[in-house]
């Protein structure tokens, strides 16, 4: 009997299966098409920049300005990509950047850094970010608090703590070893841009080539299936939010280097910029699919946009409107390309 069974007609031959298969392909080509679309959008922006700004836009110096501008938020966006791929959200990253710059630039930290080197400040910023992220993760995973609420609470609390520590004053960094290590250029490119590149490369490998990345996608794609396959979903969520916090700590170090000071107002509203970069990049807000390359291009698009507006001395309010339009346009395009999923 089972012999006859095995010889039955392959399911692939049914018309529906063929249609499904085709749809599977269109999703795949959609992913490629979407990145092409992003690159095209970026090039278009550059063209607009060149036409309106001329040499002021198309210069190496300006390119470095754009990259520097994209760097800190870019790093946040890499961390955010992991969070959003799990189907979550991290609203606290901007505040955590502020908190980490403040904590890493207090007199006490700077004194220690004078004694033991810049590593103290960096370690402090990273630890603050990581700790905030882990708290988010524990509250979300083990406290069963919705990510939106848990990280909203952290947004408010971290900003408050930063104000308390800094006493609402800007803390100038006066640690030569820190400045020497993180300010200036390396092979003609600002060091903070190198950090962004490094974080992006590590992030890409982490998402696409490691068990951590596979778990992230599985947890976002179907948390229950991931759990029943033996993946410790709660623990993984803690790690992912910890990673996002760590990214915020790294961004804090970059901001200390770029501005030369720690302030509780650093990173204000950056969580929204990071989320925008991730979503425009093509990572699904619903979870289950994430793209580091898309996120990087998304961050570059927003940085270039700001740059084009600044070069043309345009109102920043107009710029905000343009950003909003880009976000909606990108998401609409995303939905078109990735085809409606029928039941």
């Amino acid at each position: 009997m089972s012999e006859q069974q095995t010889s039955s007609r392959p399911a692939a031959d049914t018309p529906k299966a063929r249609a499904d298969h085709r749809r599977g392909h269109s999703i795949f080509s959609g992913a490629v098409g979407r990145n092409l679309g992003l690159v095209a959008a970026l090039l278009l922006l550059c063209l607009v920049g060149f036409l309106t700004g001329g040499d002021r836009f198309a210069s190496l110096t300006n390119l470095m300005i754009i990259l520097s501008l994209a760097s800190a938020i870019g790093v946040l966006s890499i961390g955010m990509t992991f969070v959003i791929t799990t189907g979550g959200i991290d609203l606290s990253v901007g505040s955590v950047v502020g908190l980490s710059t403040v904590w890493a630039s207090t007199l006490a930290t700077q004194n220690l850094a004078d004694q033991y080197g810049w590593i103290v400040m960096v370690g402090c910023a990273l630890l603050v970010g990581l700790a905030a992220g882990l708290v988010n993760g524990v509250v979300i995973a083990y406290g069963n608090v919705v990510a939106f609420i848990a990280t909203l609470a952290m947004l408010v609390a971290a900003r408050g703590l930063a104000e308390l520590i800094a006493n609402r004053r800007t803390q100038i960094v006066d640690v030569p070893s820190f400045d020497n290590t993180f300010q200036g250029n390396l092979v003609g490119v600002p060091k903070i841009v190198w950090i962004f590149v490094l974080v992006a490369v590590v992030g890409w490998f982490l998402l696409n080539r490691t068990t951590f990345g596979r778990r992230t996608v599985a947890v976002g794609g179907n948390p229950e299936a991931a759990r029943l396959a033996g993946i410790n979903v709660k623990r993984h969520l803690v790690y992912v939010y910890g990673l996002s916090g760590l990214a915020a700590g790294i961004a804090g170090v970059m901001m200390l280097a770029r501005t030369g000071a720690g302030s509780s107002t650093t990173g204000m509203l950056w969580e929204l910029e990071a989320i925008a970069a991730v979503v425009v990049g093509g990572t699904l807000l619903a979870g289950g699919r994430g793209t580091i390359v898309g996120t990087v291009i998304g961050a570059l698009i927003f940085a270039t946009l700001s740059n084009v507006f600044i070069i043309n001395n345009l109102d920043s309010s107009v710029q905000a409107i343009a950003k909003g339009a880009i976000i909606v346009g990108a998401v609409l395009l995303q939905q078109r390309i990735s085809a409606p999923r029928s039941s």
């Binding site: 009997m1 089972s2 006859q4 069974q5 095995t6 039955s8 007609r9 392959p10 399911a11 692939a12 031959d13 049914t14 018309p15 529906k16 299966a17 063929r18 249609a19 499904d20 298969h21 085709r22 749809r23 599977g24 999703i27 080539r209 490691t210 068990t211 951590f212 990345g213 596979r214 778990r215 996608v217 599985a218 794609g221 179907n222 229950e224 299936a225 991931a226 759990r227 029943l228 396959a229 033996g230 993946i231 410790n232 289950g288 699919r289 039941s343």
Partner: protein, 506 residues
């Protein structure tokens, strides 16, 4: 049921063709529905049933073909038009809104209103009438739909169809979410509707159900009508299966080679309990043995499996694998020790639908094949391909999205996951739900092969013949307690049903 002078046709679909870019989903389907009949639509997964009902519901536009209502040609350009023509569709995923009341759901989209104010009292009155007509006067119009059982939601969905004066109600596998008591209720309602002259187009995999309530059958295969207006009473089962699959198939269970007495006990469950669901459940499964759990939905059978697996935290009792006690409430520990679960709801509990087949197969093992956290995708693909060939996965392409596979092949992928994992104990919850007739015997044969290789298998199914046919030993669960345990071949379906019913009556 067949009278001398059959009533005029209510609904006719003639030569319906539906092409999608690159595929012909329907290739000439005919369907004739009389008023006051239960017309069963039968076909394997992928035969085109869903596409056909979507055409009828106005969700898809046919490429060719005509639809006639009362002999007059009609167009159904959108879902609201279908309702206007008197065709209502109940999809498998019931489209009720949990947060609204029964009455609000029924009049959703066509609220009774005067000058913008909803006529709540009138809606309540009419809802109460509809519920009486459907034989469920106990469902209050003010009840929140989310608090109703799946069966209750179906009644609401049917009431909504009636509130729009539907003359044809299409039901897509309505019994899939119901237990046998609720199915009886559903059938009673269906019979009452039919008596009132409403036609039901009934889609189901389950031939036994069709025998119980169907009048005529249309069989479709590969987008074509292959059996037209067959009389339920006079068409033998094997002929139906032959039409559906295109070849002779029997609903066959593999042979039971018998478990040797000295086979070691793999899984030992002692006095396991879960607050409010079941208590004092003890069972053991030996290597090479298939043990079946029979019981109604809500008897606690799925929960027993999930608790053994650690997906629920037991209130008391122990689970031991090869004598080693497992940590309570930890799936990771259970999987690590060598237990696998193929869950009841494959799509929502088992698979990551957007991921390729091979990643679903290696979802429990990718960390094991990885080196220091780095994935070895080639090893994963190879392992998945090996199982795809061994299990005759169709198509054998492991890189395509698992969403595109049929139910039976998705189930095979679930089994493949645990084969790659090499587990010693396999827990199967409704292994053939959503699996069409042709693929069922394959799943059965596969499970038996696993057992023959030394795996201990614990299987839960709401289809009692399946449990009796597949298992070596059967435990009957009623009200969260084991009421009978014994060899599967020394008990029949009626005895099991008696025990189950008695338990629930007590």
């Amino acid at each position: 049921m067949v009278t001398e002078d059959p009533p005029a046709l209510l609904l006719q679909m003639q030569g319906i063709v539906k092409t999608f870019p690159g595929a012909r989903a329907l290739d000439g389907v005919d369907l004739d529905v009389r008023p006051g009949e239960v017309h069963c639509l039968l076909g394997q997964n992928g035969a085109g049933k869903s596409t056909l009902i979507k055409v009828l519901a106005g969700a898809h536009q046919p490429t060719e073909g005509t639809i006639l209502m009362d002999g007059e040609k009609i167009e159904i350009p959108h879902p609201v038009a279908a309702l206007e023509h008197g065709v209502a569709t109940m999809y498998q995923e019931l489209d009720v809104v949990d947060g609204l009341t029964v009455a609000e759901n029924i009049y959703l989209g066509h609220e009774l209103a005067s000058v913008g104010f909803t006529q709540r009292r009138e809606a309540t009155r009419r809802t109460r009438k509809l519920m009486e007509r459907l034989g469920h006067p106990e469902i209050s119009p003010h009840r929140e739909v989310g608090t109703l059982s799946a069966a209750g939601k179906q009644v609401v969905s049917m009431a909504r169809a009636l509130s729009r004066d539907a003359r044809v109600i299409v039901m897509d596998e309505p019994s899939a979410v119901l237990d046998s008591g609720e199915v009886d209720n559903l059938f009673r309602v269906v019979e009452e509707l039919v008596e009132q002259g409403i036609a039901i187009v009934y889609i189901s995999h389950r031939l036994e159900e069709i025998r119980r309530i169907g009048h005529r059958i249309t069989v479709i295969k590969d987008g074509r009508t292959v059996g037209r207006n067959l009389d339920v009473a006079s068409t033998p089962t094997d002929e139906l299966i032959k039409l559906m699959t295109g070849k002779d198939v029997e609903y066959a269970f593999p042979e039971r080679p018998g478990v040797p007495d000295d086979a070691p006990v793999r899984l030992e469950v002692a006095d396991l309990s879960l607050a409010g669901v079941f208590s004092g459940v003890s069972l053991s499964v030996r290597a090479g043995e298939i043990v079946g759990l029979a019981g109604l939905v809500g008897s606690g059978r799925s929960e027993i499996l999930e608790t053994i697996y650690g997906a629920r935290r037991a209130a008391g009792g122990t689970v031991a694998l090869d004598g080693r006690r497992l940590r309570n409430g930890s799936v990771t520990a259970a999987v690590g020790a060598g237990i696998g679960l193929a869950p009841e709801e494959r799509k929502s509990q088992g698979l990551v639908l957007d991921e390729p087949v091979y990643r679903n197969i290696t979802l429990s093992t990718f960390a094991r094949t990885a080196r220091a956290g780095w994935l070895d995708e080639r090893a994963e693909r190879d392992a998945a391909k090996e199982q795809a060939v061994a299990l005759d996965l169709r198509p054998p392409d492991v890189d395509r999205s698992i969403r595109t596979l049929s139910g039976g092949n998705q189930q095979k992928a679930m089994l493949a996951r645990w084969l790659v994992h090499g587990c010693e104990v396999l827990l199967l919850d409704e292994p053939t739900r959503g699996v069409d007739v042709g693929a069922r015997s394959e799943i059965y044969a596969l499970v038996r092969r696993l057992a023959d290789a030394g795996t201990a298998v614990l299987v839960v199914s709401s289809e009692i013949p399946e449990v009796l046919g597949l298992a070596d030993r059967v435990l009957v669960i009623s009200e969260g307690e084991v009421v009978h345990a014994g060899p599967a071949d020394s008990i029949d379906e009626h005895q099991v049903l008696d025990m189950v019913m008695e338990g629930s009556a007590a």
